[in-house]
């Protein structure tokens, strides 16, 4: 899923400082799962903004709404009845949601309340870790199910760099060296020979280097 973290509250307060009627929009998908922008977080942020304004003796009108998905126009359309009555929208979805709202409602400013971080997996309650970079040409089938793009700090493709130390990455001792993990996994699988096969230079275009990606499924479009 896409993970996100709430922005510092003062940054959000600065965004909305000129406005008094705010539509605060959450999303029921990824940001709900990573506890950054679901219904619960919408309520908490609204309450925090109310406390801030109470301290300043000001009034702020915040309408809270959480959409099924903010990255789909049909769900974003649900905001249409409310948009004329507000000065600004604050979105707690990932960047995709913020942009879908901005594209639909051109006259109302939209501000992000979260920083979108990465595509990650849950390791335990409250802990998420990056697992995919969306490189557009998955190599997990030949790296033992461990991604060298997302989990090697240098995105290397043919073994570890010289910075690996006791199986950990030189960027931080808390980061496992992806190539150590790949080697151990290949050994467990009895597929050590895979390690000897050189991978050619990767074409990064499908992962974003060729410009913004688009998928068109003609059978669905």
């Amino acid at each position: 899923m896409i993970t996100a973290e709430q922005k510092p509250i003062q940054e959000i307060i600065q965004y909305i400082a000129p406005y008094s009627k705010i539509l605060l929009v959450g999303c029921n998908e990824c940001v709900t799962v990573c506890a950054a922008g679901g219904r619960k977080e919408v309520g908490l942020l609204a309450s925090a903004l109310h406390l801030n304004h109470l301290k300043q003796g000001k009034n702020i009108d915040i309408r809270e709404i959480t959409l099924e998905r903010q990255c789909d126009p049909e769900y974003v359309e649900e905001l249409a009845p409310y948009i004329d009555g507000v000065d600004a929208v604050v979105s707690m979805a990932c960047g995709c949601g913020v942009q879908t709202i901005a594209a639909r409602f051109k006259k109302t400013p939209v501000f992000p309340a979260v920083n979108t971080r990465f595509m990650g997996a849950s390791l335990s309650q409250g802990v998420w870790s990056e697992r995919c970079k969306g490189c557009g040409d998955c190599v997990l089938g030949i790296t033992g199910g461990i991604c060298p793009v997302a989990r090697c700090s240098k995105h290397l493709f043919n073994g570890p760099c010289g910075g690996t130390s006791n199986g950990q990455c030189e960027v931080s001792p808390d980061i496992d060296c992806a190539w150590r993990l790949i080697w151990e996994r290949l050994k467990e699988l009895g597929m050590e020979s895979r390690y000897e096969e050189l991978m050619e230079a990767k074409d990064w275009r499908p992962g974003g280097a060729g410009g913004p990606g688009t998928i068109i499924r003609e059978d669905l479009a």
Partner: protein, 144 residues
């Protein structure tokens, strides 16, 4: 504000602090009437939004009273409650509110004296802090 009497909300676990409050009553141990008790099935039921809403609605201080460490009826509700209280403290600090307005306490069902003591001490803490910034903000605005 010489005669400031704070409004305090205490979320009390049914299995410990709420019973401790009963115990305080049975033993005729008095505690400040500023403290308004809300009984919850476990302190782990108390979410950050409950603490925030209490402050938003005018409480000058809010606390959660749960079981002693390791004694939660539901295993670790008291640990979760403490983590949420700490989260709200952090949020209040970022908003320029005093983090001392929220707190977590632990006690057992038999600790009537401890319940009364916590109620007294927390009430004193809030009295020293003064009315909530939510109230003073409105007053400052009216005066200007």
């Amino acid at each position: 504000m010489e005669h400031f009497e704070p409004e305090i909300v205490a979320f009390c676990c049914h299995y410990c602090a709420y019973t401790a409050a009963d115990m305080a009553g049975s033993k005729r141990i008095s505690y400040p009437s500023n403290v308004k008790i809300i009984r919850v099935p476990c302190s782990g039921k108390v979410d950050a939004i409950h603490l925030m809403k209490a402050l938003e609605k005018g409480a000058d201080g809010v606390y959660v009273a749960g079981c002693l460490a390791g004694d939660c009826h539901f295993k670790n509700g008291n640990v979760r409650a403490e983590a949420r209280v700490n989260r709200v403290k952090k949020l209040l600090t970022e908003l320029g509110w005093e983090p001392e307005r929220v707190a977590m306490f632990n006690m057992s069902a038999g600790m009537g004296e401890a319940f009364a003591q916590v109620a007294k001490e927390f009430t004193e803490t809030i009295k020293k802090l003064g009315p909530s910034p939510g109230r003073t903000g409105a007053m400052d605005k009216a005066a200007s």
